[in-house]
């Protein structure tokens, strides 16, 4: 089955006065229609840039972005416009994602008029009302005339999602879309996104630094862990969380403070060799994680860059040691 949208060894390098920064380095990711996937990583790992590459908001400096099998940056005109509408990004900051000078109705109706999904005010009203109901902003009439500053963070994010839905996208990239929202309503926003997936088959890509959120969201999907611009592990969520293959994933999972005193005070940590995160301007040779990695093997890890390779149970990992140890495992071994 061809993937709906695919990143093929995509890279993005930024030139700065201090030198080139490879924010995203040769990332390959194929997404099916209706998939829920999370991209997880700490700050500086390239996940936001990957999200923007996926939505076509920035051009890659290497590799290709394929949508329905075609290279997006080689298409023009109507095809490119179609792609742009098909992949929508929901921003992190609810306070800047909506135009402060326009009401909710104005913001949501503009794309409808533009793309001829509504030809009159009355039609637009009907469609906008339905959209607001779909994102659980009820009663819809109440919200139509509101300006962004009159809404809470969570409500604004819902409007942003509704805005994305006006053009019937096939992929929604949510870039830390719940990080700036109150804890008690994060789950409902995530459920909303998951609902879009189950009802309309929209592929949702959630970018986050919070592994607990990632686990909840992608519990029947996959998680990709990124470190310094590369994907180091890509696996089904329960496999990753139960039995992380890459030492970085293991360190992350072990380090997360949990909302449960019993578990969190007795959790076993993974000790890393160094707490320093290398600068993107001076990446270590070979595997970029090697200075901190507990599985480090001299001569191998500092010499050769590990590729993202498949290991049993439909997973991929970019670690020489992990691949070697697991590639020979029988297919029945998982937690």
């Amino acid at each position: 089955m061809t993937a709906l949208i695919e990143l093929e060894r995509i890279s993005r390098t930024f030139t700065t006065p201090d030198g080139p920064i490879r924010a995203v380095d040769s990332v390959s990711l194929a997404l099916e229609a209706g998939e829920a996937i999370c991209i997880v990583g700490e700050s500086g790992c390239g996940k936001t840039t990957t999200g923007r590459l996926l939505s076509g908001l920035i051009r890659p400096t290497g590799g290709r972005l394929l949508y329905e099998g075609k290279d997006v940056w080689l298409t023009k005109g109507a095809d490119l416009a179609r792609f742009r509408r098909a992949v929508q990004l929901v921003h992190q900051d609810p306070y800047s994602s909506l135009n402060p000078t326009r009401t909710v109705f104005q913001t949501l109706s503009a794309p409808l008029f533009r793309h001829k999904k509504a030809r009159s005010g009355r039609q637009a009203l009907a469609v906008v009302t339905e959209l607001l109901q779909r994102v659980d902003l009820t009663p819809p009439e109440y919200f139509l005339t509101k300006y962004p500053h009159q809404l809470s963070g969570g409500q604004r994010q819902r409007v942003a999602i509704a805005r994305a839905l006006t053009v019937d996208p096939t992929v929604i990239v949510a870039d830390e879309a719940v990080s700036m929202v109150d804890v008690s309503i994060r789950i409902s926003l995530l459920n909303l996104l998951l609902g879009l997936r189950s009802e309309f088959g929209v592929t949702i890509v959630l970018i986050t630094h919070d592994l607990a959120v990632a686990r909840y969201f992608a519990r029947s999907g996959r998680i990709g862990v990124m470190y310094l611009g590369r994907v180091v592990e890509l696996a089904r969520t329960e496999s990753l969380v139960g039995d992380p293959a890459h030492p970085y994933s293991a360190a992350l999972i072990a380090a997360i403070p949990e909302a449960d005193p019993e578990i969190t005070r007795t959790k076993k940590r993974v000790e890393l060799r160094s707490a320093e995160i290398p600068s993107l301007l001076a990446l270590p040779p070979g595997c970029t994680f090697h200075p901190r990695c507990p599985l480090f093997e001299a001569g191998l890890c500092d010499a050769l860059v590990p590729e993202l390779l498949p290991i049993p149970e439909q997973r991929e990992v970019a670690c020489h040691v992990a691949v070697r140890e697991r590639a020979g495992e029988p297919a029945a071994a998982t937690a």
Partner: protein, 337 residues
């Protein structure tokens, strides 16, 4: 703290940010104050050391601080005593992510300024002390002191703020969102650091956060705040496994975890109330699945539940206990699954 109430004065009316908050903190105890946006927790924290901005009024209440057997009301301290109280007795660690540093001076100058402001004289003495403190927080003084704030990472900045707070060996350290906006591994190192420091130096800690896991890691006792009031006050294990207030319950159910079973996770519907025009009765009632008519009549007082050290501001706490079914040390989400 006894019955503290703080109002913000705005054009629209007085915002009752903190309403009648009381708690006791023992020596070497750690208290976590957990609340979301609009709960009043930061106003409370800032009020504790009287750093409240203009336009804020403490309408009533006392903050009693006891040292060497002498109890004084912080609110009534004069300027000199207040300066001594601040930092030497009680220091505050601000959120590193929120521009807590002066961007045009180096970290060393920051140390110097703080030392001077609190009567520590002699550059050499300050230099030595700074070296000691940075060592305590696992930072290399040679690298950090000459740097400017933008040259340091979030984690490093937070450590520097902790070091600064410990300068005069305070008995009480207040931390405002110490791990927010930090990466997972950095958060972990800060939490471990705080644990270590507490063990070594024996200070009491109050930290304010929206992050429940922080409380789970470090706190002995915990308070949940909603709309400016304390809604539940308990030992940490009691709060996490046997909450009695619907808001605490809702909050615990709304936080997903990485380890263990997922359980029944769900959000709290609705939004926090307008703090200027609060509804009559329990301010959580509009969002509460257990609310009955009696709840909307009067603000419920803090009632002792289970044990005297566990209080909840809910008249239906027994019902909450029943819903949870079990009293075991198992997370709430799993109990409800």
């Amino acid at each position: 703290m006894r019955g503290l109430s703080i109002d913000y004065l705005t054009r629209r009316g007085a915002v009752h940010a903190v309403r009648d908050v009381s708690f006791d903190l023992e020596k070497s105890e750690t208290l976590a104050i957990i609340g979301e946006s609009g709960s009043g927790k930061t106003t409370l924290a800032v009020g504790l050391i009287r750093l409240s901005p203009r336009g804020t009024k403490v309408t009533k209440g006392e903050i009693l601080y006891t040292k060497d057997g002498v109890t004084s009301d912080v609110r009534k301290l004069d300027d000199d005593d207040l300066r001594e109280y601040r930092w030497a007795e009680c220091a505050m660690v601000f959120q590193a992510a929120l521009n807590s540093f002066n961007p045009v001076i180096t970290i060393w100058e920051q140390f110097l300024d703080t030392a001077r402001a609190h009567g520590m004289a002699g550059k050499r003495r300050v230099r030595d002390r700074a070296g000691e403190l940075l060592d305590l927080v696992h930072l290399d003084a040679r690298r950090v002191l000459p740097a400017f704030q933008h040259e340091l990472s979030g984690g490093m900045k937070q450590r520097v703020l902790i070091a600064l707070a410990l300068m005069l060996e305070p008995q009480l350290v207040i931390l405002d969102e110490p791990t927010t906006a930090l990466d997972i591994l950095t958060q972990r190192s800060i939490i471990d650091l705080l644990r270590q420091l507490r063990q070594r130096l024996g200070f009491s800690m109050i930290f304010i956060s929206h992050d429940l896991s922080l409380a789970a890691e470090l706190a002995d006792r915990m308070i949940t705040m909603y709309a400016g009031r304390v809604v539940e006050h308990a030992k940490v294990e009691d709060m996490f496994y046997r909450p009695r207030h619907p808001y605490s319950l809702g909050l615990l159910r709304a936080v997903p975890r990485v380890s263990g079973a997922l359980g029944n996770i769900t959000s709290i519907p609705g939004s926090p109330p307008d703090l200027i025009r609060l509804p009559v009765g329990c301010s959580y009632a509009p969002r509460c699945p257990f609310a009955i008519d009696a709840c909307r009549e009067a603000d419920p007082p803090l009632l002792a539940v289970d044990t005297p050290q566990h209080e909840a501001a809910c008249i239906r706490w027994r019902h909450v206990a029943e819903v949870l079914r079990s009293d075991a040390d198992v997370p709430v989400a799993e109990k409800l699954a």
